[in-house]
């Protein structure tokens, strides 16, 4: 993510410029002359969004010293890509340099004649946590597999139109599969062998696993080195220390939860105008974007708590949720949690399938605890209990809060319109079925049913 403060007086003009990139509200034209996203074939999603936090004044409940009247307005440029982000950035400069210069010209201190790549690098912000629905699945693979599915569906229709084939295949579905394998061999579509998962990811995963093993080893150490009695003593002591630390944390947490001034009393619903602005951009494709921005409660406790939790999220999600789901949510393509302004504020950006109302339904009914953990320290977040309960469980209050913090995402690009994660996963299974050496008859029937 590249984020840089803009010159406030230029905000309206910048918005106008960004809107020229769209071919329908909230959806970028892949060939727009400013940044033709379509030419970058490792790019899944991208967005430009102006982070103008309308909820900034909420901080005033914490007293004048918590206020932040001249917080910068950021322009953020986010993309989700295969391979190295740094490489993509260089590619952007190569192929869309002029457009980017025009856009970033609205940023404070931008020198249009300077080194763009250098500037973007120096303004890039590393997300505290990143989530990828399916690690290692590339844009190319998604597109090729979608084309494959389409081709096979057409073959299937042609086949079944012929009565004699249909009758024969009833008992021997293998015929159909064999014919498909031949047809794809001869007429395509061509399938590029899957690229290996990027080294960076593998190393990260490896490190995580090594860390887990090391941790387990340390935990087991007393048992290995000491007599049973002594080990028990050590464990007891460690447990005591952990409990004490936890108790201190919980006392702090509860104090904050019960005594922090409540921005929500009286509740602040989002304005009609704001909701209209958001609604205008949503539900054109089967996937939607979500960008939310807010401040943390003042003081070190909320920041530290969030820092640790986001760090854990970043560490744990690739291990626990590498393929297809984030806890019980199966509709998030990419998500990221980013600190901004020296951890004064935080940004959450995601790409999800379905409507905003069903996204919120998932949040409230399936992963309220996760929302509470990751956003519970935000100003105005509905009151939590022990950071797990309450919060997002307060359905309408939560929906209001998140919509109030949502920012209209002016420019949003998706490389494969019309495809949901479920479609993409299905297409991948179809390809696997085609490439497998052997399949039982039941498997073939199952496979055909997906086509």
């Amino acid at each position: 993510m590249v984020a840089a403060p803009i010159v406030p007086s230029g905000e309206a003009d910048l918005r106008k410029l960004l809107l020229t990139m769209n071919d329908s509200p909230g959806t970028a034209d892949p060939n727009n002359p400013l940044v033709p996203f379509g030419v970058f074939d490792t790019l899944h999603f991208a967005r430009f969004v102006i982070l103008n936090d309308a909820t900034l004044s909420d901080l005033s409940v914490f007293g004048p010293e918590a206020e932040f009247p001249d917080a910068p307005i950021y322009l953020a440029f986010l993309g989700d890509c295969d391979g190295s982000a740094d490489f993509l950035l260089a590619d952007f400069v190569d192929r869309a340099g002029d457009g980017l210069r025009k856009i970033f010209a609205y940023c404070d201190g931008f020198n249009p004649n300077g080194d763009l790549l250098q500037w973007m690098r120096s303004h890039s912000v590393k997300p505290a946590a990143n989530y990828v629905n399916w690690i290692g699945r590339t844009v190319l693979q998604i597109r090729e597999e979608a084309a494959l599915h389409e081709a096979l569906a057409k073959y299937l229709t042609e086949y079944l139109a012929d009565r004699s084939i249909r009758d024969k295949a009833k008992d021997q579905p293998r015929h159909i599969r064999d014919a498909f394998v031949r047809a794809v061999d001869e007429n395509g579509p061509r399938l590029t062998p899957p690229a290996p998962t990027p080294l960076g990811w593998q190393i990260r995963r490896l490190i995580s696993i090594l860390a887990a093993v090391a941790a387990a080893f340390i935990v087991a150490l007393p048992l290995l080195m000491l007599s049973a009695g002594a080990a028990l003593l050590v464990y007891g002591a460690v447990l005591l220390i952990i409990s004490a630390a936890l108790a201190v944390f919980l006392v702090h947490l509860r104090r904050h939860e019960t005594t922090d001034p409540d921005v929500q009393s009286p509740p602040k619903p989002p304005s009609d105008e704001h909701l209209a602005e958001l609604g205008k951009l949503q539900d054109h494709d089967v996937t939607n974007q979500y960008t939310a921005f807010g401040s943390f409660k003042p003081g070190p406790f909320p920041r530290w708590t969030t820092t640790v939790i986001w760090w854990l999220v970043n560490l744990a999600t690739p291990i626990l949720y590498p393929r297809g789901n984030l806890a019980r949510i199966k509709t998030i393509h990419f998500a990221r949690w980013v600190f901004l302004d020296g951890k004064r504020g935080g940004l959450f950006a995601s790409n999800y399938d379905g409507s905003s109302e069903s996204y919120m339904d998932d949040f409230v009914n399936k992963v309220a605890f996760g929302l509470n953990l990751t956003f519970g320290q935000g100003v105005g977040y509905p009151r939590t209990r022990f950071l797990l309960w309450g919060g997002a469980e307060r359905e309408q209050e939560f929906k209001d809060v998140q919509r109030r913090h949502a920012l209209p995402t002016e420019v949003w690009y998706k490389a494969y319109p019309g495809l949901t994660l479920i479609d993409i996963a299905r297409n991948a299974r179809i390809r696997q079925g085609l490439e497998r050496k052997t399949m039982t008859e039941t498997e073939i029937r199952q496979w055909l049913s997906e086509i």
Binding site: L160, D283, H284, L320, G418
Partner: protein, 528 residues
């Protein structure tokens, strides 16, 4: 502990009953033309002291237990209607927390062009676009909906009398007459010929159940009263946002205090929202399509697969044998027709995933897999247990239920028969679809958007509700006019090119007030 519902005499009867025994019905769409006369009539129908005595009155749920009602009258208001009645302006104010919810204030159809996409989300595009509606798109919005019900042969006189009384204060801009449905005994059929009105949520009047406990790991049909009535706890154990007022607004002390907000009066209590959609059905189109595609049985098999119930009996395609679903039974017919979930049919082989009733109520519980041990619960809650590819794609049903009170209109003959004999009826027919819910966006709009018109519903692709879909291709020219009928053989299961069978002709969001709120509106001087 949630509060039981006791004030039956304050709740319009339609919440409790569809007035099945009152076979005739008509819906009057009104505009207020004279404020004081309009208020005088409202005062009269809620029997305000000093108001004119009429021979009819608003029917409340208490009447239904007192005696048999020979006729019934219900009243609901649109947002423009309430403003014209001079309801307190803060109820419509932007950014207030005690106002009417946004979707009600804006209405089902925005002004053209629809800037923020409600029509897009509801599938009201293409033929269904509000610009093609007969009524309901601004400025063709009604202020008031008056619903009249009567025993066979008695409606005409009743309607005439009411319309005469209304004439001073209102203009009747549309009379929507309903059909006496083709009936055999107790079954009511909609124009395609299916038995309708079989499945309804059971309202937990007595607050017997506590929502959100482990019991909700299984599907249940007993639903918190707050889902259908404002002022009571909903499925989250919370009070749905609703219009509240400062006591100064109510000098005559008509309204009840808000149970959860001290110092505020509850204008919503015992009221709810009523979604009205005028849906025209192409009965000949439907039966000629299914009989052409599936000639064996004159299309009956295919039609049943598209709906999810049997044509002749209304029984579900999946076997209903589960007597233990909360809120189903003890009546044997109810168990036979509603004692089921789709769990025994994970592949959709018995009832296609896309069948109308499987979309409109997937009968899902809070977590796939139901009740198992604590460890399994924890693993599933954290998403760490590998489940089926469709697990967790659908929301839990209990947050998305509606009470349906619609009535068919049009020709009374057995349509299917006449279509098959080559004599399609000359009259348009369809359903005046009516749903009651406390939260329009979480209930009706969610069902319509996420389930009925969603081309990706439950992991499928390129198909919407086989009965209701608008068949308009989605962005990138992806088709939405298919329907999948899973077969054990594994293929030959997808029909393409479904025509549109149901077209939206009108609609509106109404507030169905309590009797107290009706009195309040009738008295309100409207100086604020």
């Amino acid at each position: 502990m949630a509060q039981p519902v006791r004030e039956y005499q304050d709740i319009q009867g339609i919440v409790r009953s569809g007035y099945g025994r009152l076979e005739e019905a008509s819906f009057l769409l009104l505009r207020i033309t004279n404020l004081s006369e309009a208020k005088a009539w409202l005062a009269a129908v809620v029997e305000e002291p000093g108001a004119e005595k009429l021979s009819y009155r608003v029917t409340h749920a208490g009447h239904l237990s007192e005696s048999h009602q020979e006729r019934a009258l219900q009243i609901a208001f649109s947002a423009p209607g309430l403003r014209r009645l001079r309801a307190p302006e803060e109820l419509f104010q932007d950014g207030s927390i005690n106002n009417f919810p946004r979707e009600f204030r804006l209405g089902i159809a925005a002004e053209d062009p629809d800037p923020e996409g409600r029509s897009r989300r509801l599938g009201d595009i293409g033929e269904n676009a509000p610009s093609n509606w007969e009524w309901g798109a601004p400025p063709e919005t009604p202020d008031v909906l008056v619903m009249l019900y009567a025993e066979a042969g008695c409606l005409a006189a009743f309607q005439q009398m009411v319309m005469a009384d209304l004439a001073l204060g209102f203009e009747v801009f549309r009379v929507l007459g309903t059909a006496k449905a083709a009936e055999e005994g107790d079954t009511r059929r909609e124009p395609f010929g299916f038995v309708d009105g079989i499945s309804q949520p059971e309202i937990d009047w007595g607050a017997k159940r506590e929502p959100g406990t482990g019991a909700d790991l299984e599907y249940g049909n007993l639903i918190a009263a707050g889902e259908f009535l404002l002022g009571y706890q909903n499925e989250y154990g919370l009070f749905t946002k609703r219009p509240l007022l400062d006591p100064a607004r109510d000098p005559d002390n008509i309204l009840a205090p808000a149970a959860d907000v001290p110092g505020q009066l509850d204008l919503g209590r015992n009221g709810t929202y009523l979604v009205f959609r005028h849906l025209e059905q192409d009965v000949s189109g439907f039966w000629s399509f299914v009989s052409k595609k599936s000639p064996g049985n004159q299309g009956v098999d295919l039609a049943e697969a598209m709906l999810g119930r049997r044509l002749s009996t209304g029984d579900p395609l999946v076997t209903a044998s589960r007597a233990e679903i909360r809120g189903v039974g003890p009546d044997a017919l109810d168990i036979r027709q509603n004692g089921f979930t789709y769990e025994p049919d994970p592949e959709g082989l018995t009832c296609p995933f896309g069948a109308h009733i499987r979309r409109a109520n997937p009968r899902t519980a809070d977590m796939p897999g139901g009740k198992q041990g604590l460890i399994s619960w924890l693993l599933r809650a954290l998403g760490l247990k590998r489940g089926g590819p469709r697990d967790d794609l659908l929301s839990s049903s209990r947050f998305h239920r509606i009470i349906r009170r619609g009535r068919p209109y049009g020709a009374v003959i057995d349509h299917r028969e006449s279509v098959l004999r080559g004599k399609p009826p000359g009259v348009a027919s369809g359903i005046y679809f009516i749903s009651l819910n406390a939260n329009i966006s979480r209930q009706f709009e969610f069902i319509q958007n996420a389930w009925i018109v969603n081309a990706k519903f439950n992991g499928m692709d390129g198909e919407t509700d086989p009965l209701l879909g608008n068949r308009v291709p989605s962005l990138g020219n992806h088709v939405t006019d298919g329907v999948s009928l899973p077969q054990p053989s594994g293929w030959g299961q997808r029909l393409a090119g479904l025509p549109q069978f149901v077209t939206v002709r009108g609609g509106a969001y109404f507030f169905l007030p309590s009797l107290r709120a009706l009195r309040f509106f009738a008295r309100q001087s409207g100086t604020g």
